[in-house]
């Protein structure tokens, strides 16, 4: 056993962090000025979205551990680019459903924008009968994907999107939209195991997103505590403030472990094992994500309660990642079913 990143993984982490410094947010005001088109182009050129394209052997170019590293590093700086929703989620689903190579490469190379069609709770993927659905983290998607049970297997269908209405979602860095879709124009078979694998992939990356957001939020609060002076000393010298931040780092440390393992499981273990690890990672991340971001708002004091503060942006991002594809109770129910049997 050796649970450490390889040198290549560390290099990827550094590269994505560098990118995230350029295209991430330093304050909510940056939302208006960040150049999303240039960012998306740069991200595509880095090839992050293409890391899960399949080689001729059918194996992905990079392991899900690399993807989780990248997703977490982007979330740490609140990069407002739709990597998960419009690229990684649909591309992985198309790959697992063995969609034609051209379909997949159009998404992984950023030529065509796709999305997953969610139900109104954002907790489940819609089925092929869907007419009105919700999309997340993608704008101007040309088609959406549904998943429908079909005997012991599933079918992934591709729907044209006919109209999009943006909602004012809680997360200011990623869009939630209501979309009207047409009848499926193509469909592919998805095995039950691959459906579990896709779900494991998506849940793990949402946990990685929460992880990155927690890290970025805490980093900012800790730096602030070193320079904010009250009673003639930095507030970070007060034990009450130190312990709040330490407790947050403990929660982050627990999340790191479960996310890395869940990401590793996706390519290495059975679908059922990968899904249990993914639900575990997301359950843990969700159980600590909001408390950590709330702590961060408190460390910033009055400033942390203002619209101009970055603190609420982290909390908003965490909340939406929390509910997408199922919140804490949904994750725990899945874990309980796997460990205790279905009741």
């Amino acid at each position: 056993v050796l649970a450490v990143y390889t040198d290549e993984q560390k290099m990827l982490d550094d590269a994505v962090r560098k990118f995230a410094r350029d295209y991430g947010l330093n304050s909510p005001a940056d939302l208006k000025v960040v150049d999303r088109a240039a960012g998306w182009k740069a991200l595509s050129e880095m090839g992050i979205a293409g890391l899960r394209a399949r080689e001729s052997s059918g194996a992905p170019m990079a392991s899900a551990v690399e993807i989780a590293i990248a997703v977490s590093a982007l979330a740490e700086r609140l990069v407002p680019l739709p990597l998960l929703g419009s690229a990684l989620f649909p591309a992985e689903l198309l790959a697992l459903a063995q969609a034609p190579a051209e379909r997949l490469s159009a998404v992984t190379e950023g030529r065509q924008s796709a999305c997953i069609l969610f139900d109104a709770e954002l907790a489940e993927v819609a089925d092929a009968g869907v007419q009105t659905a919700y999309s997340w983290d993608c704008q101007g998607a040309e088609f959406g994907l549904s998943i429908t049970p079909s005997g012991s297997e599933y079918s992934v269908a591709l729907h044209p999107i006919t109209s999009t209405t943006d909602h004012k979602g809680a997360d200011l860095t990623r869009a939630v939209s209501q979309v009207e879709v047409g009848a499926p124009v193509e469909s592919y078979t998805l095995s039950a195991g691959n459906r579990e694998r896709w779900l494991a992939f998506a849940l793990t990356l949402l946990a990685a997103d929460i992880l990155g957001a927690m890290r970025g939020a805490l980093n900012g609060a800790v730096e602030y505590s070193k320079v904010r002076i009250q009673y003639k000393v930095p507030i970070g010298s007060f034990q009450a403030v130190q312990h709040m931040c330490s407790e947050a780092l403990v929660k982050i440390t627990g999340t790191v472990g479960t996310v890395n393992y869940a990401a590793w499981c996706i390519d290495e273990l059975s679908p059922a094992e990968a899904l249990l690890a993914a639900r575990t990672a997301k359950a843990y991340a969700v159980s600590v994500g909001r408390p950590v971001c709330e702590t961060v708002m408190q460390v910033y004091g009055g400033l942390g309660q203002t619209w101009e503060s970055i603190a609420h942006l982290y909390l908003r991002r965490v909340m939406v990642s929390t509910y997408l594809l199922g919140g804490l109770q949904s994750m725990l129910a899945g874990i309980a079913d796997a460990r205790l049997g279905v009741k």
Partner: protein, 377 residues
């Protein structure tokens, strides 16, 4: 990232599993007589040593196996799985201190018998007035000729009532700043003037002791390091503390969770959505503990200086363990209060101590804030 055993680790695990299955006596935990318990534990330690399962990460020149901490972790996991007793924790850190500060003669004299279990040790650090603030210890030692004369009191000296020797910190230079005036002495426990009193913890078990020193005379040759080296020696032992996997805490957590799940099943609670959620959350917390500890262990084995990261794992451990034991009482319900499950009540109280021993949760949080997050003092 690789969470699988290497072929060497897998072979070691299989051998250890077979050995424990064959040699662990099933009635270990049911021996009531304390002297018999002590005898069995010592015998067990010596058996482990003879079988090559002591000192996994010790240098071979002092009788160890020269392997890394992953093997210590595997050994702990397999030992806990068969409910075998653990090797005493001092072997790692006191052994490291003697290796670092001992004269060649001291190393040759003390290390082999410490490892083999022939000589049992205890650690005389804490005192009634020196708990978290260990450097303020007051037990005095005055040099008279070629002997130190020791007076004072130690507290939380685990295993003192069955130890042959004590690894003792004393104040030798009362006029120097508190960190500079401490010296380390090694003493037999049967010297005249040493008295041990057991401390019964809230779980009802005499897990630790207080030790009184009344004009105890210790040969000057039994000093470890130089006069005034006590604090750096103490820091060596602290930095050598092992993570939750190596002390078997992770494996124990998983076994306790399985027992709680069984208890819930026996009480017909597996259909209760709240209990199902609590059990699932306990599983998730246990996984977070296991996987974060595995990363900390891996970082140490790869030569990345860990140090403070141990405090994060300790905090994950105490929080998850205490939440798990609270859940245990919740599931057992009235059986926990009426004495039907007295052992489980004792386990609950044992878990309360996890956030105190080996550095309280508050001290760990100070360390995390100041040394990892770099917050100002």
């Amino acid at each position: 990232m690789d969470y699988r055993d290497t072929p060497e680790e897998a072979a070691f695990r299989a051998d250890a599993r077979a050995w424990f299955a064959e040699h662990t006596s099933a009635d270990w935990t049911h021996v009531e007589d304390e002297q018999e318990q002590t005898r069995l534990r010592r015998q067990w330690h010596q058996n482990l040593y003879k079988a090559g399962y002591a000192g996994m990460a010790w240098p071979t020149e002092y009788g160890g196996l020269g392997l890394n901490a992953v093997y210590s972790a595997i050994l702990a996991e397999e030992a806990v799985s068969t409910q075998a007793p653990q090797l005493p924790p001092y072997i790692g850190y006191m052994g490291a201190a003697i290796q670092a500060y001992g004269t060649e003669a001291q190393k040759r004299h003390f290390l082999p018998t410490m490892l083999s279990g022939e000589i049992a040790w205890c650690q005389g650090f804490s005192e009634p007035e020196a708990g978290s603030d260990i450097a303020s210890l007051r037990t005095r030692a005055v040099l008279e000729g070629d002997e130190w004369v020791v007076n004072g009191q130690k507290m939380w000296t685990s295993g003192a009532h069955e130890a042959d020797w004590c690894f003792l910190l004393v104040r030798t230079e009362p006029d120097l700043p508190k960190h500079k005036g401490i010296t380390c002495l090694l003493t037999e426990m049967d010297r005249p003037g040493i008295e041990v009193r057991k401390i019964y913890l809230s779980n009802g078990i005499p897990e630790t002791s207080e030790v009184f020193f009344d004009n105890v005379r210790i040969p000057a040759s039994q000093m470890l390091g130089q006069r005034g080296d006590g604090w750096p020696i103490a820091m060596t032992t602290v930095s050598f503390e092992r993570g939750p996997i190596e002390v078997g805490a992770v494996q124990r957590y998983e076994i306790v969770l399985e027992k709680i799940e069984q208890a819930a099943a026996e009480r017909g609670l597996l259909g209760d959505p709240r209990i199902r959620s609590e059990l699932a959350l306990a599983y998730a917390r246990g996984q977070a503990l296991r996987l974060a500890s595995l990363e900390e262990l891996s970082a140490r084995v790869s030569g990345v200086a860990a140090g403070e990261a141990g405090s994060l794992c300790k905090l994950l451990w105490s929080e998850s363990e205490q939440a798990l034991q609270a859940l245990s009482l919740d599931v057992l319900g009235v059986d926990a209060w009426t004495g039907k499950e007295a052992e489980k009540m004792a386990e609950y109280f044992s878990a309360r101590a996890v956030s105190v021993y080996g550095g309280t949760a508050q001290i760990q949080k100070n360390i995390v804030a100041q040394r990892i997050l770099g917050m100002p003092r």
